[in-house]
């Protein structure tokens, strides 16, 4: 053993066995969270120095098995086979040893050295379960260390044993168990065939490969067919032969027989003297009693509504204040920049491009922090699994999963949410198709940034029906999200629902440390990965709305108009009038009037600049299409800006209607302006509301969709799909309305 030795250690275990708690207890804050290349499964790494040894720990995703069906399992298996850690610390839940050992057996079949952490022995003891760790160790022939990850009990012994075993640098020694008279002979034959040729042996032991052929494991068979097609098809033929025989004689499958024998092996290991259970097995524990209330037919859904609403309220209420501080901070910064940088392109870039962009990125952070804290709390207590259990029947109808509800609610299922944390909330979903369908449809919900636009339009055209309209729009967004999910699951994400089989873990009080680490990791990932992209795209949008600049001829025309007004005033007031933001009071009536006329020219210039910009040109070019929905160029430009951030819709529409920034007190003047505009009517307003509800999610959300789905194509899909859906539906509403004689 050298002083600078470094060992790679993998942590493996079932979900809910306390694996992450143990990982946090060992590595503390010295950990790094990333993703496995190309997929969205998290990869957590941490380093722990122990007696001069460097232990590099990798927390594998929690899995029940090492088959290759889910991403998590594939990742765990590939890590073990390809990265070849010195050993695996396998964490098992002492109260639930039989099922936890199923994974252990599969790791042992692979042959990798294992140290077993017999976790939560305290909770097991309180349920009357005592486990003889020494005897278990003797029977499994691996070290077994009792631990309590929450309190750190047994951590030192575990590390000592880990260091000791790692230093031995053992070669892999696969566990041989018998799978019965039907499987064993052919398994032996296949093992001999494989061992005799150079067939994937760099990765897996021969017997394990043979086992995977019998289990019809696609990943291994595909790899085998690439390396040696002849041997691979021979092995497949052998496996098929056994499968046929088993089907005929026992009506079963090799996989099932193998699983039966693994469980049989576990029973034999645990029999006589390893597990002492001093309580009746049908006793109802506190957790079961809680379930009788919390998942009760009547009280369950009621309590769930209250809890989900409380989570929603807490997330958005607690984050409101920090968001306000951030906004106030950025407003102050913008104002200060405007005083030190002369008006012009540079000022515009810094204020409207960079500061607004950074502000846009940062303003989501309090939301993400609180949302992840709340979700981590629900997840770690075990309640989130109950939510999925209770709501699965409803969401399954739409091709989703019981857990989809969280993402929907956070996104604005209760009006006023935010799709950025909503999309990130889909991480709790483990079924790939259901998860993707959820994250693609969650942005249909009415987020907090869409609400002011709705409020402005409702105030203008449906002033007496504010509450009813908002309620109607909330219902409408749920219908839209669910039916779009159904359509997506029938078309591009077609396929049977992923098996549900969800463990309802015992209720537990989460540790604050665990919650904080979890929350911080997720937030930091957002800042690091999404933040930079959002900022870059915000600047791009600023450029779209700024360039090309108004030609000098037109600029000087506006300037001449201003000078003309000024020339009629006494000399001493001219210079002060040209300063932006001067106090209006204390001026004579004549000067105040002149000042207003100058501001009007300023606003006309802003409108002309916007119309002249790329965004304005795109808006005008789109009129041929959007006239079917009732939108002209001003609306189009505002919608384009709304793609950068929905908050920009009102201010851009204001600019397009020559309303200055200061006049836009919460959109009220815009509301009056639209209400008095003969071109606008209720039908057009409603069509626009529906379009805004459904069209492309904002930049930040789209970026998060790309990150969370692991592919840019899904981000592009959501842009195209949502906008097309919004267009078709709003056009149908507008044209249908015209046909029925409403509006027009």
């Amino acid at each position: 053993m050298t002083a600078s030795a470094e060992y790679l250690i993998a942590l493996a275990g079932n979900p809910n066995c306390g694996k992450t708690t143990l990982f946090n207890a060992i590595t503390g804050a010295r950990q790094h969270v990333g993703n496995y290349p190309g997929i969205t499964v998290e990869k957590k790494e941490g380093v722990h120095l122990f007696n001069g040894l460097k232990l590099r720990l990798v927390d594998l995703p929690g899995t029940y098995s090492l088959t290759a069906y889910s991403m998590e399992e594939l990742v765990a298996r590939d890590f073990l086979a390809l990265e070849r850690p010195q050993l695996v610390i396998n964490i098992v839940d002492a109260s639930n040893l039989e099922r936890n050992l199923y994974l252990t057996i599969q790791i042992l079949e692979l042959g990798i050295p294992v140290v077993l952490a017999l976790n939560m022995v305290d909770a097991a003891a309180s349920r009357g379960i005592e486990i003889d760790a020494e005897e278990l160790s003797r029977r499994l022939q691996i070290p077994v260390i009792p631990t309590v990850a929450r309190s750190g009990t047994g951590k030192l012994e575990l590390l000592e044993k880990t260091a000791e075993v790692a230093a031995e640098n053992r070669s892999w020694k696969p566990l041989h168990i018998s799978y019965g008279a039907d499987i064993d002979p052919v398994l032996d034959q296949m093992e001999t065939d494989i061992a005799g040729s150079d067939f994937l042996l760099d990765f897996y032991p021969a017997r394990w490969i043979a086992l995977k052929y019998l289990e019809a494991d696609e990943q291994v068979i595909n790899k085998g067919a690439e390396v040696n097609p002849e041997l691979s098809s021979r092995l497949e033929a052998l496996a098929d032969h056994v499968a046929e025989h088993l089907q005929k004689t026992l009506e079963t499958y090799p996989e099932a027989i193998i699983a039966d024998h693994r469980y049989g092996f576990i029973s034999a290991v645990l029999k006589a003297g390893v597990v002492h259970n001093s309580q009746r097995s049908d006793r109802l524990y506190l957790s079961d009693q809680l379930d009788q209330v919390l998942t009760n037919r009547f009280f369950g859904p009621l309590i769930m509504l209250v809890i989900l609403y409380a989570v929603y309220k807490a997330t958005f209420d607690y984050s409101a204040l920090p968001v306000e501080w951030l906004n106030a901070g950025f407003t102050t910064l913008s104002a200060w920049m405007q005083t030190i940088i002369p008006p012009g392109l540079l000022q515009s870039l810094i204020v409207s491009g960079i500061i607004d962009g950074v502000g846009g990125v940062l303003s989501f952070i309090p939301l993400i922090l609180f949302m992840f804290f709340a979700i981590a709390f629900l997840e770690d207590t075990g309640y989130l699994a109950r939510v999925a259990y209770m709501l699965d029947r409803v969401f399954r109808t739409f091709g989703l999963h019981g857990s989809s509800v969280m993402a929907y609610i956070v996104s604005g299922g209760i009006a006023g949410g935010c799709a950025v944390p909503g999309v990130m909330a889909t991480r709790t979903l483990r079924s790939p198709r259901e998860r993707l369908a959820t994250l693609l449809t969650a942005p249909f919900m009415n987020c907090g940034a869409k609400l002011p636009v709705f409020a402005m339009l409702i105030a203008a055209f449906f002033p007496a029906r504010h509450a009813q309209m908002m309620f109607l729009l909330t219902i409408f967004s749920w219908i839209a999200a669910l039916s779009m999910a159904r359509i997506i699951r029938w078309t591009i994400l077609r396929g049977p629902s992923t098996p549900f089989l969800l463990e309802l873990p015992p209720y537990r009080m989460p540790t604050l440390k665990g919650l904080l680490i979890h929350t911080w990791e997720r937030t930091w990932q957002y800042i690091r990965k999404a933040g930079t992209i959002i900022l870059a795209l915000s600047i791009l949008f600023w450029a779209l709305m700024t360039f090309p600049l108004l030609p000098d001829a037109r600029k000087s025309q506006f300037e001449a108009d201003r000078q003309q007004i000024l020339s009629q005033l006494p000399e001493d007031t001219r210079t002060s009038l040209m300063q932006p933001g001067i106090a209006q009071d204390g001026l004579t009536r004549e000067i105040a009037k002149a000042s207003q006329r100058i501001r009007a020219i300023d606003r006309a210039e802003s409108e002309a600049t916007l119309q002249h910009s790329y965004a304005g040109r795109i808006g005008m070019a789109l009129e041929t299409l959007t006239q079917w929905s009732g939108f002209e160029w001003r609306t189009n430009v505002a919608l384009l800006a709304g793609f950068a951030a929905k908050e920009l819709i009102i201010s851009t529409l204001g600019t397009a209607y020559s309303l200055g920034g200061a006049d836009l007190d919460a959109g009220m003047s815009l509301s009056r302006r639209l209400a008095s505009d003969p071109q606008w009517n209720r039908l057009r307003a409603f069509s626009l509301i529906v379009f805004i509800m459904l069209y492309a999610p904002c930049l930040a959300t789209v970026t998060c969709i790309a990150k969370e789905s692991g592919a840019v194509k899904w981000a592009l899909f959501s842009l195209a799909f949502n906008t097309t859906a919004a267009y078709l539906i709003s056009a149908a509403i507008y044209q249908g309305g015209l046909w029925m004689g409403i509006g027009g």
Binding site: S65, T67, D260, Y263, Q292, L502
Partner: protein
């Protein structure tokens, strides 16, 4: 003793799994969770809309959809 499909069992009823007929991914998931022949289980409850069903086995609680429970045959204790 009579055998029934897991879906047909009443809340509180106990039994021992005799057969699992699911194949492919579902079959594997079912076995991964410890639902193999010979395993005793008890129906713990049903979700408010009667689906999924929650069962207790090997000292933990598992929920599965009714259409997944249809692949599992259970020998039930009579009189319960």
């Amino acid at each position: 003793m009579p055998t029934v499909l897991l879906r047909q069992m009443a809340v509180g009823q106990e039994g021992v799994i005799t057969k699992v007929t699911a194949e492919g991914e579902l079959g594997r998931r079912i076995r991964d969770m410890g639902l193999v022949p010979g395993t005793p289980l008890r129906i713990q409850g049903r979700a408010p809309l009667k689906d999924p069903v929650a069962i207790k086995l090997r000292n933990f609680t598992l929920s599965l959809r009714n259409n997944e429970a249809d692949y599992i045959t259970v020998e039930v204790d009579e009189g319960k």
